[in-house]
Symmetry: C2
């Protein structure tokens, strides 16, 4: 599908991260930009969509095993419904795509393509919840949403339309809603750490950056190699504000009507962006074996006189791996040489390569190469499926360790405006600092550097004492703030 | 979630099919109507969505094992793209929802919410296909589409927004595209017959009712109990018309550019409508065990003095079934009596009920009841998982046989306009008749009865001979036409 000269990555991850990222996404066949006149939209190609399917399968399994059911709500929402939400929650004024005509007729009321679905789901939750026996109520939908923000397109990170899941739940008490909020946040963290090999920080957003109307917004944040933080998934405790606005009430055991306590939580294909950005390199895409569409590629290396035996041996190995449910590709193309194949599969991010030539055949062995670092070992042909699985674990551990080192080395402390600005400017990453909780004290950092408070850790006791003072204003500190530039 | 008086079905399937269907859909918790001002939209509740997930899993597996990869294209399509399709294919003028504003700004070009995606997928296929080695190219997407048709809403059958999959492929030759078209049609037929217990007829649409621009439109049709046909899935051989319009060409082995031969094929949640309508009855929903969210419900029947032993026994049975990966629900609610539970689970369509009382406990047995016909047998407790699986097969066979009988008994022959009209008017179902192929000869049936030619069988040799004449005009017949009223 590409001519030869299209194959290589030409940009540098270290020096030109944005262009490098865009090149990896396109050349590894993950996505294309949308058509002319559709800036902000992308086309997700099969290799990219397969990664999203891995994320979906993993999260969907987690959700279903913890009481969540999927549902589907209309993609269009009447303006009056959004307005109703606006009344509840100051500051809610989403930039949306407006449908004004159906067929040849102008609509009486214009309809928003959903930017998120609280305002259309809440009225139905109000119908479905009658008694305490109907609680907890948990629904989730996998869908696409549109937010008409005029920004530079960055596939998966920043697009006008994106794929996500949005979960919406109702509970009998504040504490149960809090448990739900944290359960989903933990599931998001596990998705990143156990499937995508991306370590994350968990915490809550400062009050001025909560989801409008929420009691608490919690977040998982991942640090990208360019020193910027990605808001990688959010879980909101909505308190009773949505329940009161949309009349989600239940009869308790004494038949008294009570407002429900609701939550919502969402994770988008931005997770794909974080995955690609974290692990990939100047040769192209790097993927953990957990999500790679092809986990292992076999490249046979033959001369004319050895072709038959090498191919037969390689096919046999491929069959063993396939029988063990390993996603294996045997690249037996005649028209390409091994070097070309190495490059192509490296570009596409296949985590493990097996090289099989006459020597391997003669010795009953296989040469195993790790994509992330090129580490190469010779392994016995016997028990190859088990060996390859061990290599998968080793590759996963390498990727995770590298990302974890990047995170660990890039959380720094500072206790003055100058030090915060200097540290962020020099290193990026997170700067943790005592903070009074006032939005005004974010401004002196945000204004010059576009860095903001991306999270506050949950355990304030551990981090803020009576002697701590806000690094900006000097008042008593109430929280620890993590400043970072972000996507 | 419902008060007691909401539980029963009050309408009659036989005498009031439309109202009965709407009642089953709502009371079995499958869907609600959309909000005020959103006529034509529905909310798919978890019990309904779970059925769609069964269909998705089944079809997606079939697709992936036959070379299809999933992808995702923008939900909005520029008007000029649709116009380009209009130029190609006369008669293409879909009623769509138009996005005219993004945020606070009017767009330069309005965007259609996709009614189907040929016009946005084809230009990308043109980019991705370069050489014969890139063929066949097969992509599919699961998504929602919007068609702004002003009709009475009938959940799953007729809604402005619906969920579906749309597959799009490109091939090197006409014959390969034809094989693809038939492969997908066969997979649709298998979905209906092997998963949903709904027999279907396969055939092609008359030329005047093809997908605009298609070489051939093939269809699977299912006969509903009210005598109307449902177009249950279509697979189009598009010839080279889309390839020529959108420049999907490839270099053949001699480096000559050739237009690709393309197909598209789609199946929507209308399959859910056919499933519900076919099997359900005046007690509520009936489902085959293949797709039922709960395949078996256990209702323990106790008095105060037997409660403990009955419940323990029932729990033990439930555990055995769950261990065998059977989807089982133990209804041990204290506040409901067994009769209430029977009714509720019948309404919800659980295919098999196990009744366990003191007698069953004493005798080491279980009473098994089939949802479709109430047939009841007493079975040994030993080997209960195996027994229940056999009952599933028996229930499936019953459902399929009943639907097949309905189909077999309702294909009738006729050879004059009067006979066609009389037969359709009296019995509904299909009337097969020799036809000259001219659309004008459909009109005398369509005008008075709203019945049309829903399919022509593939094997003309078997059905039309030199002596056959069109039942309407008397000219030489070229096809057999199946007339029916339809959804």
């Amino acid at each position: 599908m590409s001519s030869d000269q299209d194959l290589g990555i030409t940009e540098s991850k270290q020096y030109n991260t944005g262009e490098w990222y865009a090149e990896v996404v396109q050349k590894a066949g993950l996505a294309n930009y949308g058509p002319e006149g559709m800036s902000g939209f992308i086309v997700t190609r099969p290799r990219g969509y397969a990664l999203w399917e891995s994320i979906q399968a993993n999260l969907d399994g987690k959700f279903k095993s913890t009481g969540v059911q999927n549902a589907y709500f209309p993609m269009l929402i009447p303006e009056s419904y959004l307005e109703r939400e606006k009344d509840v929650v100051e500051g809610f004024d989403p930039e949306v795509a407006w449908v004004t005509h159906g067929g040849h007729n102008e609509l009486e009321e214009r309809l928003a393509v959903r930017p998120t679905s609280e305002s259309i789901i809440a009225p139905y939750m109000a119908q479905w919840v009658r008694s305490h026996r109907d609680l907890p109520l948990r629904v989730n939908q996998w869908c696409s949403v549109v937010r008409w923000e005029a920004t530079d397109t960055k596939p998966f990170f920043r697009t006008k339309e994106f794929l996500w899941q949005e979960g919406h739940t109702a509970h009998a008490s504040h504490d149960e809603a809090w448990d739900e909020t944290m359960l989903r946040l933990d599931q998001y963290a596990s998705l990143y750490e156990d499937l995508l090999a991306v370590p994350v920080l968990k915490g809550q957003k400062p009050d001025h950056d909560k989801f409008p109307g929420a009691h608490t917004t919690t977040t998982v944040e991942a640090l990208m190699p360019d020193g910027k933080s990605v808001q990688a998934g959010t879980s909101h405790h909505l308190g009773t504000s949505f329940a009161e606005a949309f009349d989600i009430t239940y009869a308790d055991e004494d038949e008294n009507r009570q407002p429900a306590h609701t939550t919502s939580w969402g994770l988008s294909w931005r997770a794909l962006g974080a995955l690609i950005m974290t692990h990939s390199d100047d040769q192209g895409l790097v993927l953990p074996p957990t999500v790679a569409p092809e986990q292992v590629v076999i490249v046979p290396i033959w001369q004319e006189d050895t072709k038959e035996e090498v191919l037969a041996y390689a096919e046999d190995v491929a069959e063993d791996l396939a029988d063990a449910d390993i996603r294996v590709e045997l690249d037996d193309r005649d028209e390409r040489n091994p070097g070309f194949k190495f490059n192509e599969w490296e570009l596409k991010g296949v985590p493990v390569r097996l090289e099989i030539g006459p020597n391997e055949v003669a010795d009953g062995e296989v040469t195993v190469v790790h994509r992330p670092d090129g580490e190469s070992t010779v392994e016995s042909r016997d028990g190859i499926a088990e060996t390859v699985r061990e290599q998968f674990d080793a590759v996963y551990a390498k990727l995770y360790a590298a990302a974890e080192t990047n995170l660990d080395e890039n959380v720094r402390e500072a206790d003055s405006r100058e030090e915060i600005l200097g540290t962020l400017g020099r290193h990026g990453g997170y700067v943790k600092t005592p903070w009074c909780g006032d939005e005004a004290c974010e401004e002196p950092i945000k204004e010059p550097l576009s860095a903001e408070i991306v999270l506050c850790p949950f355990d304030e006791d551990e981090t803020v004492g009576d002697d701590d003072h806000c690094s900006i204003c000097g008042d008593q500190a109430t929280q620890t703030a993590y400043f970072a530039k972000n996507y």
